[in-house]
Symmetry: C2
Subunit: 161 residues, 2 copies
């Protein structure tokens, strides 16, 4: 029996929220968002999506396999870059429409731009937000872990404007 | 000048990924996903969405203001439950289509079911995945922090089947 066939039907709120039943909810595009954090530091590394096939592969392999919306295909993270994400723990949220992966990362970087985390810039807020000026992001990571040109060569950049 | 008017136009990949320009990308529904973690423990508390108005309110107030997809309205977290999320840091990812909030939570809980984190259950994977059996979630949090009936009364449950 395939792993996808083990995803259960969603029958009641009690089942989904309070039981051991594994009944993930995919959105209208067949996707479920996933948050990936570093197992040791707890830092958020990236946010991506799974479809049912990549979710099943992730559970079976114990490595993060995403669905790439820009490339419209299964994306076994690290197959090109070597930056494989080995899963230490997987959690699912209350209504089972979001997944949290805790991972160890070979090479210590998860971001295609070359930084450790995709979230390498902060946004000013509250008292630090000067309403009379432009909002400027601040770089919280100062050094790239790798050179994306060396790792990805001429592969198209996944960022969409 | 309103904060929303300070969101910049997305003109190039270099601008979006490598500069200090704040140019968030909202999806076809006008939303941007947000991951919320506990500032001290690093634990992922919840995953939600912002629209441009709630994003601006979040930056201005320094408290998490989401957009509720189920209720289709601005959702100032904690206004009903008292479990306000005070922001300590805000990050944005490489292509600026996801936000990370690091927060302190009044009352220590973020989940409408009553747990500290929405991600109170884990999924077995790899060697712990017995393909001959049903996949059973495991409760990683054993005790609820609050009783949702006392806090929310008869408010409709936000979970959708």
């Amino acid at each position: 029996m395939s792993i996808e066939a083990k995803f259960e039907k969603r029958l009641s709120i009690l089942q989904v929220e309070e039981s051991q039943s594994f009944a993930p909810k995919f959105d209208d595009n067949g996707l479920i968002p996933v948050v990936t954090t570093d197992y040791k530091s707890g830092e958020v590394l990236m946010q991506g999506y799974l479809n049912s096939e990549s979710f099943a592969m992730t559970l079976e392999l114990g490595e993060a396999v995403y669905y790439s919306r820009s490339r419209k295909q299964i994306w076994h993270k690290g197959k090109t870059s070597g930056l494989v994400q080995t899963i230490r723990e997987i959690r699912i949220d209350d209504d089972q429409d979001c997944v949290w992966l805790k991972v160890d990362v070979d090479g210590g970087a998860s971001c295609h731009v070359g930084y450790r985390s995709c979230f390498y810039r902060s946004i000013p807020f509250g008292r630090n937000l000067d309403k009379s000026k432009r909002i400027e992001l601040k770089f919280e990571e100062k050094e790239k872990v790798f050179d994306p040109k060396k790792v990805y060569g001429d592969s198209p950049n996944p960022t969409k404007l």
